[in-house]
Assembly symmetry: C2
Homo-oligomer: 287 residues x 2
């Protein structure tokens, strides 16, 4: 459900962006803004209004979990090519909520210790506890994206991983975690512009890595790997959403809408007091 305070939406982002039967990534226009009729300034206003809603829902989610360790949580999984805007989502969508309710993990190249374990080992430990909004900036999907494109594992192992991911995500969902899996989709041309800006500005050089161009040269193979990921791991309980991301403002308001949607489906409630309120008022008054 799109919240009533969101003025730019004319359609349900959850419906329009979900990867379903017959999905083809190459048919998604990275410049498009599915379901959104507003302009950039409407997007900014909607993002601010949505931040207030997200904030209240997040507090309720957290509160609800305090007396119930089996209460639900939310996990946003972000995957994308370099410079597609994952950091901007974390900063502008997630950053608008109370940091105390967020569990953010940026997965880097695996460490030697991590490589000694199954690829899901480091991921499973970071699944958010009850009441938290978890955010994975990259995730176990790297192991079937760069892992596949760069041949870091055998074909058989890559095949095994899709099934292992589905089984893992089923377990996570069964524990009450609402998964929101998002690919931010930019065009190759847009990436070129964004990487170029990082090279132009000395205060952005630290964000640039020569390896970014190496991966960029493999763009078509990455798109194929994403397509396979969608076909193998977009399930009813843990669907993928592909968010066109050439317009950063659209991507942000869309991801926020997907999170609001997950939280509204949870509909978290303030928990009832586990103590006698009147008795406590008397104790406090006497203290």
């Amino acid at each position: 459900m799109v919240a009533t305070s969101q003025r730019g939406w004319s359609g349900e982002p959850g419906e329009l962006l979900r990867v379903g039967e017959g999905f083809r990534l190459e048919k998604v226009d990275p410049d498009s803004k599915p379901g959104y009729d507003g302009k950039k300034k409407d997007g900014a206003a909607d993002l601010a209004a949505g931040a207030d809603e997200l904030d209240e829902l997040q507090e309720r989610l957290y509160a609800q979990s305090r007396e119930d360790p089996s209460a639900p949580s939310v996990l946003l999984v972000l995957q994308a090519m370099d410079s597609a805007g994952k950091g901007g989502i974390v900063r502008h969508v997630i950053g608008a909520t109370d940091p105390q309710g967020i569990h953010l993990v940026a997965f880097k190249k695996p460490t030697p210790e991590e490589l000694e374990h199954d690829f899901l080992w480091r991921v499973e430990r970071e699944v958010p506890d009850a009441g938290y909004i978890g955010v994975f900036d990259r995730s176990h999907y790297e192991d079937v994206l760069i892992g596949k494109v760069r041949g870091l594992a055998s074909d058989d192992e890559i095949e095994r991983r899709y099934d292992a991911i589905n089984a893992f995500e089923q377990r996570v969902v069964d524990r009450g975690v609402h998964l929101v899996k998002v690919m931010l989709h930019i065009s190759s041309e847009e990436q070129k512009v964004r990487l170029g800006k990082r090279l132009e500005r000395p205060d952005k050089h630290w964000k640039y890595n020569p390896g970014d161009v190496d991966e960029r040269l493999l763009w078509p193979r990455y798109m194929e790997a994403f397509q396979t990921v969608f076909e193998r791991t977009s399930t009813p309980q843990a669907p993928w959403y592909v968010v066109p991301a050439n317009a950063k403002w659209y991507a942000r308001v869309a991801v926020q809408a997907l999170l609001l949607d997950a939280l509204e489906r949870i509909d978290p409630q303030w928990p009832a007091a586990t103590f006698d309120v009147e008795h406590e008022k008397a104790r406090l008054a006497a203290s």
Copy 2:
């Protein structure tokens, strides 16, 4: 140094709030606003202006550390009686920066595993990595506050802990961590009002714990325990700051100023490119 954009300050919060020789907690008025001449609305404006500065300094701090694992970090330690406003600091001061550069840890009652180790074990593992702003919501000081007041350890053990804390903090500082240790100081009367509000509002009941009144009844002993903490652990390399906190807005702008001060002393710089910029521009153009 108070930043020029901060209009309400007439003195240096770092100087005015620092615990030095002869400090007596009972002489600090929780209603006072040392060094700040502005009103509440000035505080809100200064907090917003300071958030922009904090944001840039945090990004520089993080950037600087990317190529240098020995780069500095900042660690804010927050201690206070219940309802003094730690959560508000996290939300309104820390929450205004990019979550990607923050390492926030809320220390709860120790788990059985944690109790099997020395009291510093769980703390040492959470010291922020290079480039991060760490925040401890409660900390190793609980072990000499509630630990002392409630007699959770022997007198000898409590004595040992002050020295262990000083040695630990010296090691941390030597590693390049800038420690900012803050006690938010409210009055007993103000706490009564705040706990009362939690009891009045069903959406705040989850924040109330009957144990809060139990601790409240020991208020004078907690103040004594804080006084001893200051005498034993406010060192030149890791001083304590006592921030009057009956006015939430003052506490927020003051803690922000202490963080800005730490970051300005670090004066983090954008790192130089570790690659040939022109060569990369050519590679990108050809890609």
